[in-house]
Symmetry: none
Subunit: 402 residues, 2 copies
């Protein structure tokens, strides 16, 4: 029995409310031996109060030693086994620009490239066009392309990158990249490994041929390559699994996209933490579950900006009382993975997590950080189990067996 | 997706070096309530320094409560799920005497026994012959036996025990023991449960018939029984899974054998820790991964020799600086299981483990022992995940998902 079947069996209705606050890339590392992490350095009286009132631990996003991308990191927190549910690159790219991908879609990452007279790639990034130029070429040329039997969507992303989506029946996603990863050779033809994917490959090749014709007189952006073909993952809706009417309050498209993937309502949560909290207050009565996403703990970590990450943690800490003032039955603060400034990247290190609820078993911690969470009452646990703890603490899970 | 598929997908090349130092049976128990374990009693300044510099935890060899043999204990540490990969008794016996078993082999544990004139077993151990006598009977008689279509190898082990190996195509390993486990009855005929194993059984029965004829005039050692028929396990090579060129530096044949099983290079590492370290220095530039095995923490534990185990731990501690002087990127000290002197046997207790690497998250521990590791940053983890942590800390695992 997988965990979703178990939850489906044990789920009980309740009026309780759960807030999941995800500080992206929350976990960190000290810069020096014996030093403090970003979270240990930050002054966080309100997160520390959560540690005092609640129960803490360390979340393992996927498995020990495995560094997750944003997709698997969030799927785990949403209660989906990230090794079971996989989100292909093309789908993630589409989610990242807020394109509403759906179950009939194959999403693909496209790159403009430069071809010489013989069709040989001379620049895999088409001379790094401006994003404005990308928008222009997509709008003027690629959007005019039609392929019989499927809907075609083309969206500019940034510089030489765009997203291509084919929508139709029976389109497979197992299509090899047309990007040869090298200059001095022509782009490859799309090829599928099964019948459904062959259908997608045929559509892709028709698209490429039309694009080549339309772009032939363009300077630099006269060719394209396609990568990361991906179908929409088959994924049970969050409400169906957990019985929670859920809202996502995120600022960045990627996280809205990930929440949309599991069927959460995507609210317009503005552009700042303040906006997100204001939205949360406004819709408080309309939902059971609220996913709040905070990006800046990750982006400062990715930049290797230790003091910046400390500051962003303190900024997050400052809004905690506003959230707790709404009296959620269960309030969780965690991250989808660690992003130590020291590494300037996502990492595998387990993530500080605190759960506050009336029926939790407090563990005597007085601080919220990596060191304190290490000895917290939640122990080290796989992220995919966090939703089960949330449900239990919210009085929404009945007894297993008699 | 199993962990090997995951690692194959995420693996990245690097120049980093990993040292895995396995102190066999490392974990222990206090003799008295409130007392100290062997490791807590030993003076271990250098292991304590590892605890200060690194991150510690407790390794669960198989599952809570499960006491592993040497085979599963090491497979876990090598990153193979010991519940998925099983090493049959015959194969383990062959590895233990350094016989180079291979994929076409069925290895079997043989016992000399004494038969009366009616072919009834009167002594299951043939009067406990000396090992010299065992060598003599094997050499003079059993090694003369040939069976058409297969190669036959017979190796003396000790006293009444020998190893028998059939090498050939299509030999199965599901053959029941011929040892009836009782005196007063004749040995059983070998019987296979499937066609391939029937083939092995036929070979075994032919071998037994020829042996009976050759041994008929011997005193005591005039019969034999066969147990633990086992084929060579299908196991992906360590280098194939982890991309690590690996060397085993072990003194005892069993551990060389286990390392050979996963395809490590077996180096001549001499007869002592000093020899092993000298070999390590010599081959340092030739490998990415080094497995060092230290036997005496286990053998003293098996003997119930608490002070002896303490002393052997201190002897191991003394060479730690020599290993760290080579500056491995990741240095791990652990055990394949616990062997508490109090129990005089392997046990299920989780095993103290420390990992030192630049990107590990130190946990403030200042000692390396069972009590300290209990609150270490690695938590309690299954041994099979240790290699993933090693790979991550060595910069050899990329991001999972985007």
């Amino acid at each position: 029995m997988n965990i979703h079947e178990l939850i489906a069996e044990l789920r009980e209705p309740a009026k309780s409310k759960i807030v999941l606050l995800v500080a992206d890339g929350l976990g960190g590392l000290a810069l020096e031996p014996g030093g403090k992490t970003e979270l240990e350095t930050a002054r966080t009286p309100n997160l520390d109060a959560c540690a005092r009132d609640g129960v803490s631990g360390l979340s393992i996003p996927v498995l020990p030693g495995i560094t997750p991308g944003s997709g698997p990191g969030h799927l785990g927190l949403f209660g989906y086994d990230p090794l079971e549910y996989r989100i292909g690159r093309g789908i993630l790219e589409a989610l990242g620009i807020n394109f509403p991908v759906g179950p009939k879609d194959v999403a693909i990452r496209g790159n403009f490239c430069t071809l010489n007279a013989d069709g040989i790639i001379t620049d895999r990034r088409a001379g790094r066009p401006t994003t404005e130029r990308c928008v222009e070429v997509v709008t003027k040329f690629l959007r005019t392309i039609t392929i019989p039997g499927v809907e075609v969507f083309v969206e500019p992303v940034k510089e030489h990158r765009f997203v291509l989506v084919f929508r139709g029946e029976g389109l497979g996603g197992h299509v090899a990249d047309t990007d040869p990863q090298n200059v001095g050779v022509p782009p490859l033809a799309a090829r599928g490994v099964d019948a459904a994917s062959e259908k997608t490959a045929a559509v892709a090749n028709a698209f490429i041929a039309k694009a080549r014709e339309l772009l032939k007189n363009e300077k630099d952006t006269n060719g394209l390559t396609l990568r990361g073909f991906a179908t929409y993952p088959k994924i049970a809706a969050f409400e169906e699994v957990f019985g929670l009417k859920s809202a996502a309050l995120a600022v960045y498209p990627m996280y809205k996209g990930l929440a949309r993937l599991v069927g959460m309502d995507i609210l317009d949560a503005g552009q700042s933490l303040g906006d997100q909290i204001a939205t949360l207050r406004k819709v408080w009565n309309d939902y059971d579950f609220f996913f709040l996403h905070y990006k800046y703990t990750d982006s400062t970590g990715e930049d290797g900006n230790f003091p910046g990450k400390v500051q962003m943690i303190e900024r997050l800490d400052a809004v905690i009382p506003d959230i707790r003032a709404l009296k959620p039955d269960v309030f969780i603060v965690t991250g989808d993975h660690s992003t130590p400034s020291k590494m300037k990247s996502h990492s595998w290190h387990p993530v500080p997590t605190v759960l506050v609820g009336e029926m939790c078993r407090p563990d005597g911690l007085t601080e919220f950080n990596e060191s304190a969470c290490r000895v917290g009452g939640l122990g080290q646990f796989k992220a995919k189990y966090l939703m089960m703890l949330a449900m239990a603490n919210a009085g929404r899970l009945g007894k297993y067996g008699a």
